[in-house]
């Protein structure tokens, strides 16, 4: 609480008064502040289900919102039939179950819900997720968890190319193999890949950690192997146990990869260049 107040007292947030910022401040001491001000009051014990076979994409998403509004905390969607953009933009605590497969952009831009998908997901699942969990029982398409910032994203099958591209936080777990350019330009967060990986794993990653249980086709630029510590082993075991998953060849066979930071040269201008810039 103190630091927030202090910075306000120091006048660092004056722009907020004029309405020019979208920043919001949360206090850990007040429980309701963990949710958005416009969040719905939902009860996990209050469950509902509906059949999505004959509904359009926006009808399904509106239906989920209506059910949240009426206080349902557990929602089951039947027959999603691989439609695109289902379960997107949910900024609420919620247990959401999809009995079937999703198309592209499933559960994108979410902040908070726990989602279970019994089928498969298409491209860009959980893109830009902020918090919550998404657990997929079957395979995932390319761009799985692109630019996620937080939460746990779990695929028990195999995933396509460019998994976790531009990842900025959170954890991505894939039980099977992944395609090329996985972890491309990763900036933070962790990725646990239990199967084989495609070419250029972790290409140009800035930071973050990638754990690999299978064979690596090739590493990308500036992605380097590093030592697996006891802390890593403990973390991996905890995370994998949580989702009922196992390393294929034991925890010690896991390869830990991180950024070599050889590309961190954005401020290493030659003195003459610096003069030009300044």
């Amino acid at each position: 609480m103190g630091s927030v107040t202090t910075s306000h007292e120091m006048g660092l947030h004056e722009e907020q008064l004029t309405g020019r910022t979208q920043q919001m401040y949360f206090s850990a001491t007040e429980e309701e502040n963990y949710t958005y001000p416009w969040g719905y009051e939902v009860d996990y014990a209050n469950s509902a289900e509906f059949d999505a076979a004959d509904l359009s994409i926006s009808e399904i998403n509106l239906k989920i919102r209506e059910l949240m509004q009426s206080g349902h905390g557990t929602i089951t969607v039947k027959n999603p039939r691989a439609k695109h953009s289902l379960g997107v933009g949910i900024l609420n605590r919620l247990n959401l179950n999809f009995e079937g497969s999703l198309g592209y952009f499933g559960c994108g831009l979410i902040d908070g819900p726990n989602v279970r998908i019994t089928g498969r997901v298409g491209w860009s699942c959980a893109e830009n997720m902020m918090a919550g969990t998404v657990v997929i029982e079957k395979n995932a398409g390319s761009l799985f968890g692109a630019a996620i910032r937080g939460g746990d994203l779990v695929c028990k099958g195999q995933a396509g190319a460019r998994v976790g591209i531009d990842q900025k936080g959170g954890t991505i777990i894939v039980g099977g193999s992944v395609g090329a350019f996985t972890g491309f330009m990763m900036q933070r967060g962790r990725m646990i890949l239990l199967g084989d990986t495609g070419d250029n794993l972790g290409d140009s990653m800035y930071d973050g950690t990638i754990y690999v249980g299978g064979k690596i086709a090739s590493l990308g630029v500036d992605c380097v192997e590093t030592e697996l510590t006891d802390l890593d082993r403990k973390y991996l075991k905890g995370k994998l146990d949580l989702y009922g998953m196992e390393t294929p060849n034991g925890i010690d066979s896991i390869i830990k990869l991180t950024s070599g930071k050889q590309l961190w040269n954005y401020d290493n201008l030659e003195p003459t260049e610096k003069k030009l810039v300044l």
């Binding site: 497969s101 019994t118 090329a180 350019f181």
Partner: protein, 312 residues
């Protein structure tokens, strides 16, 4: 963007592939509503060729001067040339006012016959084959399918395409699928862009191949035709194409009894695959496969640089 789809029934099983492909492509309509094309593979009859050709573009039909008379004249000219070359036409059907379907018997050099007919102004042969029938026109899948009466078309496999024109015009000649002239029963659909189109096109043109449009996708059909001409089987030809063609692409090729898919090394374009003991379905999006299999199915994305071929 474009959407592509393919299906094949294994073990020589036949089905109403006309309706199935229409449903798949209609589900992909949002990926490109400019034009829709089908390459359907029926059983065919020994010694009989199916010829699909058109004598005008839709735009021309709307605005062309005296076009309705010209269309009749162009068709008559095709008939004359077929007769001159000694082809015995058994059936003649008008699919539309400007597109036709013929069955003919011919014992001579097919390439010479085709070249002679295409030499006519505005005449384009869409396909020649024993089983292949290639249909393409402007509009969505339901429209084209109804216009050409495709529901109830029985066959073993098919590929199709819904187009969002990015590299060339919206007309029938730039629509997919492309027939791999002059090879019987070979057709291609493509989703993506090729960046070394002109280099390859000039090379292939010097070696006597024909390009009908300025659409980059046509290059794949001509390239595969060239490889088959040089004695390659379908699978090695496709593997080679991944090295040779530059850009982002996922494409499907069908021959009289095979269906193949290839994906570029960046895996930049989508493809979802469903395979069971009796059926293989491929599409840019899972919704297309689910339009013919409403039940839950296991699907996955093939990886970068992957080539797969299935037999009917």
């Amino acid at each position: 963007m474009c959407g592509i789809a393919g299906l094949i029934w294994k073990g020589g099983v036949t089905s109403d592939i006309g309706s199935e492909m229409t449903q798949m492509l209609q589900a992909l309509k949002h990926r490109g509503p400019d034009s829709t094309g089908f390459a359907l593979y029926g059983k065919g009859e020994e010694g009989v060729h199916v010829l699909r050709f058109k004598v005008a573009e839709q735009e021309e039909m709307k605005t062309g001067f005296d076009i309705h008379r010209q269309v009749i004249e162009r068709k008559a000219a095709v008939d004359t040339r077929l007769e001159e070359m000694g082809a015995e036409v058994t059936t003649r059907e008008d699919a539309t006012e400007y597109a036709f379907r013929y069955h003919f018997k011919f014992g001579g050099d097919l390439k010479r016959l085709i070249d002679y007919i295409e030499d006519l102004d505005s005449v384009e042969i869409l396909s020649v084959g024993k089983g292949l029938e290639l249909i393409k026109d402007l509009g969505d899948a339901a429209l084209v399918s109804e216009q050409y009466g495709l529901s109830g078309f029985v066959g073993t496999h098919a590929i199709g395409h819904t187009r969002m024109a990015t590299e060339s015009d919206v007309d029938i000649r730039s629509a997919h699928p492309y027939w791999a002239y002059p090879f019987n029963d070979v057709s291609v659909v493509h989703n993506g862009q090729l960046t070394n189109y002109w280099t390859n096109r000039r090379d292939l043109e010097r070696r006597g191949h024909r390009f009908m449009s300025n659409c980059d996708s046509e290059l794949i059909a001509v390239y595969i035709a060239d490889r088959i001409d040089q004695g390659d089987e379908l699978e090695p030809a496709m593997k080679r194409s991944i090295e040779k063609l530059d850009g982002v692409f996922t494409y499907l090729v069908a021959t009289s009894d095979q269906l193949g898919m290839a994906k570029d090394v960046m895996a930049a374009k989508p493809m979802v695959l469903y395979e069971s003991d009796e059926f293989v379905g491929l599409a840019s999006e899972e919704v297309a496969i689910r339009s013919i299999f409403p039940r839950e199915i296991d699907t996955w994305d093939p990886y970068q640089g992957e080539v797969k071929v299935w037999a009917a």
